[in-house]
C-alpha cells in the first residue's frame, strides 16, 4: 500500500515528464518542498522500484511507477468529471477537491463504477486525457477514412478530419457525427461517390468527402 505522498510524487513526475526530462530541482519547485526532501523521497521511490534516476535522463518512472502514476491521474481526472458533470461544480473549482478524492479510492472496482457512471469520458473538464485503465493501455482500433471501406461495411464515425468547419457543420446537420453508425451500400465506378446509410437516410458522398470521415469498424 503506497502512501499518499508517494502517489503524489509519482503523479507529479508523470505530468512533468510530458514536458521533457524531469530534473530533481524542478520537482522540488513543483512539490513545494526543499531539494534535500526531494532527494530523500527519490531514493525511497527508487528503492521501491518505482523510479530510476540518472544524470542524463533525470527522473524516470519505471513500468510499475508508470502504472501507479497513470492510475492516480486517471482517478483524479475521473473525480473532476464527477464533480462537474454530476455535482455541477464549475470546472475551475474542482482540482483541489479531486486531489483529495483521488487517494480515497482503494479498489479498482470503485474506479470502474465511477468511470461507468460518467460514461467512460476520455478527458477531464480541462481537456486533459484520462489514461487507460491500470495495467493495459486500451489500444484504440485504428481509425481509417470512410473512403477505404468496401460495399457492405458497417462502421462508426470517430471524427471528421477537416479544418473546414463548414463541411463539418453541414455533415452534422445530416447526422454524420462522431458515434453515428454508417453502412456502405454502394460505390460508384471510377472512384466515384459512395452510397451510405446513416440514421435511416441514404446519401451519396464524394470520394474527397468520404476521405475526411474517419471511422472505426464495429
Amino acid at each position: 500500500m503506497l502512501t499518499e505522498v508517494v502517489e503524489e510524487y509519482l503523479e507529479a513526475i508523470y505530468k512533468m515528464s510530458l514536458n521533457g526530462p524531469v530534473i530533481a530541482a524542478r520537482l522540488a519547485e513543483w512539490m513545494k518542498v526543499s531539494p534535500p526532501t526531494v532527494a530523500d523521497m527519490l531514493k525511497r521511490l527508487s528503492d521501491k522500484g518505482l523510479v530510476k534516476t540518472s544524470r542524463r535522463d533525470g527522473v524516470k518512472l519505471t513500468k510499475k511507477g508508470l502504472e501507479t502514476a497513470e492510475t492516480m491521474v486517471r482517478r483524479h481526472r475521473l473525480w473532476e468529471r464527477f464533480l462537474t458533470d454530476i455535482l455541477g461544480l464549475n470546472w475551475d473549482e474542482v482540482h483541489e477537491e479531486a486531489c483529495k478524492l483521488e487517494h480515497a479510492i482503494s479498489s479498482p472496482q470503485v474506479e470502474e463504477k465511477l468511470a461507468d457512471i460518467l460514461g467512460h469520458p476520455e478527458t477531464c473538464p480541462h481537456g486533459h486525457p484520462i489514461p487507460g485503465t491500470r495495467g493495459a493501455r486500451k489500444r484504440e482500433k485504428e481509425a481509417k477514412p470512410l473512403s477505404q471501406c468496401s460495399v457492405g461495411d458497417e462502421a462508426i464515425i470517430e471524427r471528421v478530419a477537416d479544418e473546414d468547419s463548414q463541411l463539418l457543420q453541414y455533415l452534422a446537420s445530416l447526422g454524420l457525427l462522431p458515434e453515428a453508425r454508417v453502412a456502405v451500400k454502394e460505390i460508384a465506378p471510377f472512384k466515384g461517390p459512395m452510397l451510405v446509410n446513416v440514421c435511416g437516410a441514404q446519401y451519396a458522398l464524394g470520394q474527397e468527402v468520404a476521405a475526411k470521415i474517419m471511422v472505426k469498424g464495429k
Binding site: T123, Q166, L168, Q169, Y170, A172, L195, A201, Q202, V209
Partner: protein
Amino acid sequence: MQFSCHSALNKLRGETDFTIALAGNPNVGKSSVFNSLTGMGVETAHYPGKTVELNVATTSLNGMNIGIIDLPGTYALGAVSEDQWVARQAVLDGNPDAVVMVVDATNLARNLYMVVQFLELGYPLVIALNVLDVMRRQGRDVDIDRLSILLGVPVVPTVANRGEGLDELIQKAVEVARSGVRPSPLGISYGLDVEKNIRRLTDAIADAGLEDPYGLPHRALALLLLEKDPEFIELTSAMPGWEPVLELAVGLRQKIAVEHGQSAATRIAGERHGLAGIITDEVETRKEDQKPGWGERLWRYTTSPTTGIPILLLVLAANFLILYFLGNALAELISTGYANYLADPVRTALVDAYGENLVTLSIIWAMDGFKAALTVGIPFVLVFYMLLAVLEDTGYLNSVAFLTDSVMHRFGLHGRAMIPIVAGAGCNVPAIMGTRVLTTMRERVIAGTLIVLVPCSARNAVIFGAVAFYSGWQSTLALYAIILVLWVVLGLALNKMLPGQTMGLVMEMFAFRRPHTTTILKKTWFRFRDFVFMVIPLLLVGSVALGALFQTGILLDAANWFSPVLQGWMGLPPIAGVALVVAVLRKELALQLLIAMALVQGVDPDVRNNLNAFMTNEQLFVFALVTAIYIPCVATIAALARELGWKRALMIMGFTIVLAVFVGGLVNQLLLAF
C-alpha cells in the same frame, strides 16, 4: 419575374394580412404544398450574388390576403451553404407571422433538426407531417399528439401531393399567425455540460440589455455565437456594447472545444441532432420490417454500377431520341402550320399592300424570328422540361448524378450536369436553362460553355447536309471527333482555370417515387414561362436587326471587309461569311442561306442540288465545323444571359467566335497543306 429579395419581401408584407414562410428539407413535398396553396402569381426573387432563388406568392383565404414565402429546401438554417444562408436570411428579413415546416415522416430525426432550429429562433411554428401514407405502408407510425406536446406546436398530418390535410394546415397556420404567440422553449434541453455554457452566455446577453438583431431571443443569439456563425458575429461586432459578450463567447467556445474534443459548433450540432433523435424515438413506432417496395428495388438497380450504367445509357438514349424525333416532328408541324396559316398570308398581304421596303421586310424578318421561337420553344424546350421534371420527381436524377459524378468531376462538374449536357444534343436552349439544377455559378458557367459546344439538332443538320452528303461518313466522323476533342480539352481547361472549387458531393438519395402529373405540369409550365418571357423579345429584336443589316447589304460589305480572315485563313467565300452571321438566328438556316446567297450572286440555279457549284468539299467541311462551334443561336444567347448574366454570356459568345475562327482556319490550312 425577378425582384431583389428585400423589395419582394417588403412588398409582400405591405400587401398582405399575414406572411407565412414555408420551410423544410429538400424533397419533402414542400413544392407540392406551395403549388397547392398558390395560383399563377408566383414571383421569384433572389439575393444579390446568390444563385439560389426564392419563390414568393399570395393567396387568399376567407377574405384574408396571405403572403407565402417558399424558402429553398435545406437541411438546416445557417451560413454553411448558399441555400441555407438564403433560407435563413429570407426568414429574418421576411419576418413571417408563422412558419410552416414540411416534415418528411419517413425521415423524422433528420427533419426535426431544422425544426429545433426554428423553435430556437422563436418563430411561431406549424408542422406539416407529410408522406405519412408512405410511412404507414412501411409499417411505421408517428404519435402525432405526443409529437405536438413534445415540440409545443401544432402538428398537422398531410399527404401533400394528394392535397390532403392542406386546408387544415393553412387554417392552423393562420390561427397561429393571428395569435402571435411564440412557442415556449423546448422542455427538453441539450446535454448538461453544453447547456451550462449556453445559459451563461444567454444570461450575459440578457444582463447586458443590448439591442437584439432581428429581435431574436437571447438563447438563439447565444447559440449562434457559440456556433461561431460568421454572419452573426459580423453583425454583432458592428453593434455597440457587444464586445464583452463576444469575448465571453470566444472563451466559452474554447471551453466547449477542450471539454469535448471538437469545435463548439460541431458539438452543438451534435446536441441538436441528439435532441431530434430523442424526440423521434419517443414518437415513432415501427412494426416488423416490411419488404422493400417497387420503388426501392428499382432504385437499387439504378445505383449499382453493373446494372446502373446500362440503364443510364438507355435512359440517356431515350431522352435524346424523344427530343430529337418528337422535337423535330413537332417543329416541322408547327413550322409548316405557321407558314401556311400565318407567315405566308401575312407576307403576301404586306408586300401587296406596301411593297418590299425596309419596314415590311423587317416585319417579315420579325415574324421569322417569332417562328424561331415557336419551332424551338415548343417542341424542344417544352418536351425537355417535361422529361426533366419526370426525371427529377422520380428521383432518377440522383442516380444519374451518383454514377457519373467522378467522370464529371474532371470537368469541375457534378453528376447532375450530365442530363443538361446530353440534352444539348437535342437543343441547347433548354439544356442551358436546365443548368439551374447545378448549385454553384462556377458549375453553371462550365456546364453552359460545354453545352454550347454540343452540336444541337440544327447544327447536326448542317453537318449532315454539308459534309456527310458531299464528303462521306469518314469526314463526318472526323468532324465530330474534332468537336469531341475540343470539348474535352475545354472542359479540363475550364476546370483548371476558373477560380473556386467544386465542393465535394453530399447528396441525399431517396427511393423512387411515383411522379405526380400536376406537379410535373406545373413545374414545366413555370420553367417554360421563364423561357418565353426571356427569349421571345430577344428573338424578335434580333430578327429585325439582322434583317435590316441583311437587306441593306451591310452584311455583305462586312464580309468582304473580313476577307483576309474569311478567305485567307479559313478559305471561305464572302457569302459564306454572310450566311454565318445570319445563321446566328437559326443555325439550320446556314445551309439555306448559303444557297440563297449563291443564287443572289448569280450562281447557276442548279446550286439547290449541288453546293459544289461554288464551294469545294473542304470548304464545306470548314463551314460546317465553324457553324458547329461559333456563337450559339440567338435563343441560346438569351438562355445563357438568363442563367449566367449578360457579361458571362457575351464572354462565352466571344470565346466561341474566336475558337471557331481559329479551329476553322487551322483545319483549312491543314487541308490545304495536304
